[in-house]
């Protein structure tokens, strides 16, 4: 008989003897992982959506009148004086009219009676990626609004603000559910192991008296914690995957959600979640064992 054989047999006995509480712990760990992973998945996908929207982000500065080449150069210099930008494009009244007509497509005949210069001239400013925090955008927009000859600056501020607040709220929820995962994994596993220890106290005391080493006593319990971590996180992630597929198949029709491509976690990320769960559960188990072995 070797060490690992003895350890596996002992772990098997523990699981058989305390299976109801083991199942409850497994369920709790699975649920915690599911809750955390669900919010984290939404969060990462929302960040992806934010990135995608950010690629199309531009500030449109409406001007009182069409700038001549000299004024264009002056405005360009003023804009660059705030910060580097990716691109600055001047749109004349005529270009604005043509774009609008193109957007209307078959309905462009509604413009037939309109003069071709009824839309204002504008500047399209595409900010650099690093300038896309909400505060920076606001500052930039305020700066542009103060440029001489500016009517109005638009960048979908209401929508962007809401999106940023949503992302911030989501990050708080992810943080809280992460805390929940840590607490449940460590404490639930710790208490389950403590119950197992209490249920088998006589045997553990006897093992000490007949010369079992601390590793011989401790390892089966650590293995229980390890198993709780592996099974709990795998079940939680599997449930999330099923939920993800269900949402995708039921909400993939035309609509808001269809605008974005939602993705599941990449394999390295799944492995990281499982590894962290294993670590937390094993820590829970270890702390209980240490308490017992110290007494």
């Amino acid at each position: 008989m070797n060490f690992w054989f003895a350890v596996f047999r002992q772990a098997g006995r523990n699981l058989r003897q305390t299976w109801p509480s083991q199942c409850m712990t497994l369920l709790t760990v699975s649920l915690s992982v599911l809750i955390f992973a669900f919010f984290f998945l939404v969060y990462t996908n929302m960040l992806g959506v934010g990135d995608k929207l950010g690629d199309d982000l531009r500030l449109i500065v409406y001007l009182e009148e069409e700038p001549g080449p000299e004024l264009q150069e002056q405005l360009r210099r003023k804009i660059l004086a705030f910060d580097e930008v990716e691109d600055i494009r001047f749109i004349s009244r005529l270009q604005a009219y043509e774009r609008f007509a193109a957007q209307l497509g078959d309905d462009s005949d509604v413009l037939a009676d309109m003069p071709q210069d009824f839309l204002p001239a504008s500047i399209e400013v595409v900010p650099l990626k690093n300038l896309r925090s909400l505060t920076q955008l606001k500052l930039f927009s305020e700066y542009l609004a103060k440029l001489p000859g500016t009517l109005k600056v638009q960048y979908g501020q209401d929508w962007i603000e809401r999106f940023y607040y949503f992302i911030r709220l989501l990050s708080i929820v992810v943080f809280l559910s992460g805390g929940l995962l840590i607490l449940t994994s460590v404490f639930m596993v710790s208490y389950t192991i403590r119950l197992t220890i209490l249920a088998r106290q006589a045997e553990l005391e006897l093992l000490k008296l007949v010369g079992a080493t601390n590793n011989y006593i401790k390892t089966p319990f650590l293995m229980e914690g390890f198993l709780q971590g592996v099974l709990g996180s795998t079940l939680g992630l599997a449930a999330l995957y099923v939920l993800f597929q269900w949402i995708r198949s039921n909400f993939s029709g035309p609509g808001f959600l269809a605008m974005f491509e939602f993705t599941f976690f990449k394999p390295p990320f799944l492995i990281a979640i499982i590894a962290i769960s294993i670590l937390l559960c094993t820590i829970g188990s270890y702390t209980s064992m240490q308490k017992f072995l110290r007494t």
């Binding site: 006897l206 008296l209 010369g211 080493t213």
Partner: protein, 224 residues
């Protein structure tokens, strides 16, 4: 060799279980410790296997101060000391065979060896038919023999036995003593705490008596 030098054990508040006990037990010796109930026999045995800590004095087993051993070293030492406790300390929901095997499992003996050894011990203690019996369902006498079998199963060099014949009839007592003698003959040091005079009356082994926590020589043993 077992040595106790000026060992005292006082339980709170002021119960003096052992007072200045000095004792040397040689390797391969069978030693009887007698005395009335409450005289301190069990305390002395517990001190030898580090289940209790002395209030004063030194306890050495195989040249090592047993109180100073910790962790792995203590575990290894305990594997070399077989103890049959007065309260048996059996796992009542396990079979007799499983209880006996436990002391061999912790020292990673091979499964085949464990099975053979368990069977052999059960036969020698007239428990062959109790191999798969749940220990909690056995009689006190049977449980006592299972505890004894577990103590000797790992062939430890030091065997401590507390009241081994308390619940046994004459025939079974003889079987138990035959087993303990066999252990002694194979080189083990055997310490038996008992108030049953019949098991040492006709022997040539050293006998000492505990009275009010102090040790008194009753009979010198024959030279080893």
């Amino acid at each position: 060799m077992v040595e106790m030098i000026k060992v005292s054990k006082i339980y709170p508040p002021q119960v003096r279980a052992l007072v200045d006990v000095s004792l040397t037990i040689n390797n391969g010796e069978m030693f009887f410790l007698t005395g009335a109930s409450g005289a301190g026999k069990t305390t002395l045995l517990k001190l030898l296997c580090n289940m209790e800590v002395p209030t004063n004095g030194l306890v050495e087993v195989a040249g090592k101060d047993i109180q100073k051993l910790r962790g792995r070293a203590l575990a290894k030492m305990r594997q070399k000391i077989g103890v049959a406790y007065q309260d048996f300390k059996l796992l009542l929901d396990r079979t007799a065979a499983e209880n006996i095997a436990i002391s061999m499992e912790v020292s990673y003996k091979k499964s085949a060896y464990i099975k053979k050894r368990v069977k052999n011990l059960l036969e020698r203690l007239s428990l062959a038919d109790k191999h798969d019996a749940i220990t909690g369902e056995l009689s006190r006498g049977e449980q006592q023999r299972v505890a004894l079998a577990r103590a000797v199963a790992n062939s430890p060099p030091l065997i401590l036995v507390d009241e081994p014949t308390g619940n046994l009839d004459a025939v079974t007592t003889e079987g138990v003593m035959t087993l303990l003698n066999a252990c002694k003959n194979s080189g083990a040091t055997v310490v038996i705490a008992t108030h049953d005079e019949s098991i040492f009356r006709d022997t040539t082994h050293r006998v000492m008596e505990l009275r009010s926590g102090r040790l008194h020589l009753v009979r010198e043993g024959a030279a080893l």
